[in-house]
Symmetry: C2
Subunit: 290 residues, 2 copies
């Protein structure tokens, strides 16, 4: 019983945090783009009395708390017990604001639903992934964006089926420069002062983007948010300003030490800064079974 | 100003009609699968004082009422005037229950939004296509299914943003036999007696599928619906029964003279009947910009 699924990476440009007593109504408003790169997951489930869940990332064993969490959640109601192997192939860096934990969780539930023939809907599966993200404090809005695809404006916080989004298509490319080694999302989200600033500017940016949507506007509002909140500093701020001097609007992938540009001509951008760099298309499809 | 988009074909298995005074709240409940085949649309818009809209299907000029309707709707609010060429490549037969008019309309609005940089959301675009379908009486539930992708259960009637769906992923293949030359949707939907029967059994089938979802169940409920409503008759009924004798559940694509089987092994099915036959994957992605 084997199956494969893909969930796109998701770069958040700005956001506003909503935490409630319930993981499904918790989440974020905000906006981001999903990428043609992300997490490809293969699951294999075999009946076994002492069902263990093993996770691998790019060939190496991994703790991957969120992926284990969702697999346990899907297995919890089953009478049968299974040994489950989850193999992630992650084609973007981790801890750099690409939403890889959410993409890993989402592709795991989609593949496992198929492998075990659970008959769960996309919304029900995505809710399991969203709950895992919120409870593990690894993300708040990636799952609903990754299920949707495109430029996704999250207009109401919460899991798929509760939160609401507006989707915009785009055939632009995204260039991401990795200017540092990464940030732990849960560390940033544990400071009340920073969350106050995030919520103030996040709300403003969502309203402004909805008044006049589009990827260019998304990038310029993301930049405004990154500086106004103080999240863009040091090497990140320097890279954004340098790109601006070359004539390109850029901002920071929330929450990573990564700076992105959206352009129809990525080849003109990739060599502008001396940092490792990833290029991908905006993915207009959401997560899916392969 | 050129752009391309794709919308998947959609085979409806069963449905229930909802007509109100407003096209956006009109529609259908029901269930169907979207296919990897469908309508590829290229649009080209050039500023011109006497803006004409020309539509081509597979290289031939075409009246294509629904595609013209949506192009006019998108252009209506613009100050500038444009000449618009819409070129559809349709990879499934028309008038055979594949939802080609909806797929044509949907791919047109997605491409034209990009070509003219209108900044409209997926939901806003799909509402234009849904309205065109309802007002031209060419379909009621295809647009919302084609925007979603997969096995789509329409649980509340209406346009995207108003109607509601449950999406199920599947990697099965669909084999469709063309047993006749096609049916005009608007003719069937103009008889009150047949609509009464459709609504009675359509409602039952939606409830049953949601109790126990999956593609096999979708096909068996579709068969029940096709016979109970009397829509499956003559060559269509004969083909369904013949496939059943070979051990395959089959039903009728609503509304066409077409019979479909969903199978992991389509090669075992394609030669069972002596009719032209189309094989496609279930498409788990919705309509999209290319």
């Amino acid at each position: 019983m084997q199956a494969r699924a893909f969930a796109p990476a998701h770069i958040t440009g700005f956001f506003e945090v909503f935490l409630t007593d319930d993981a499904l109504t918790s989440g974020s408003r905000g906006a981001g783009v999903t990428l043609s790169e992300g997490v490809f997951t293969e699951v294999e489930a075999t009946p076994a009395r002492d069902g263990e869940i093993c996770v691998e990332v790019n060939g190496m064993p991994c703790e991957c708390e969120v992926s284990k969490y969702v697999a346990e959640a899907l297995l919890a109601d089953r009478k049968e017990r299974y040994e489950v192997y989850i193999k992630h192939k992650i084609t973007v860096p981790q801890k750099q604001g690409f939403g890889t934990s959410a993409a890993g969780a989402l592709s795991t539930v989609i593949a496992l639903n198929q492998a075990l023939n659970l008959g769960m809907s996309e919304t029900a599966l995505a809710q399991v992934a969203h709950r895992a993200e919120v409870e593990c404090r690894t993300g708040l809005g990636d799952v609903i964006a990754q299920v949707t695809g495109g430029l996704v404006v999250r207009t109401r916080a919460g899991a798929p089926g509760i939160g609401m989004v507006e989707k915009f298509y785009s055939c632009a490319k995204v260039v991401v420069f990795l200017v540092g080694s990464g940030i732990e999302t849960r560390k940033v989200l544990s400071s009340p002062e920073i969350i106050d600033r995030i919520n103030h500017y996040g709300k403003e940016c969502v309203a402004e983007l909805l008044r006049n949507p589009g990827v260019e506007r998304f990038v310029s509002l993301s930049k405004k948010f990154a500086f106004a909140t103080g999240l863009a500093k040091g090497k990140i701020a320097k890279a954004i300003i340098e790109l601006e001097e070359y004539g390109y609007e850029a901002s920071m992938a929330m929450l990573g030490e990564a700076v992105f540009v959206i352009s129809e001509k990525p080849e003109e951008v990739v060599n502008l800064l001396d940092y490792p760099c990833i290029t991908a298309s905006i993915e207009n499809c959401g997560a899916r079974l392969l």
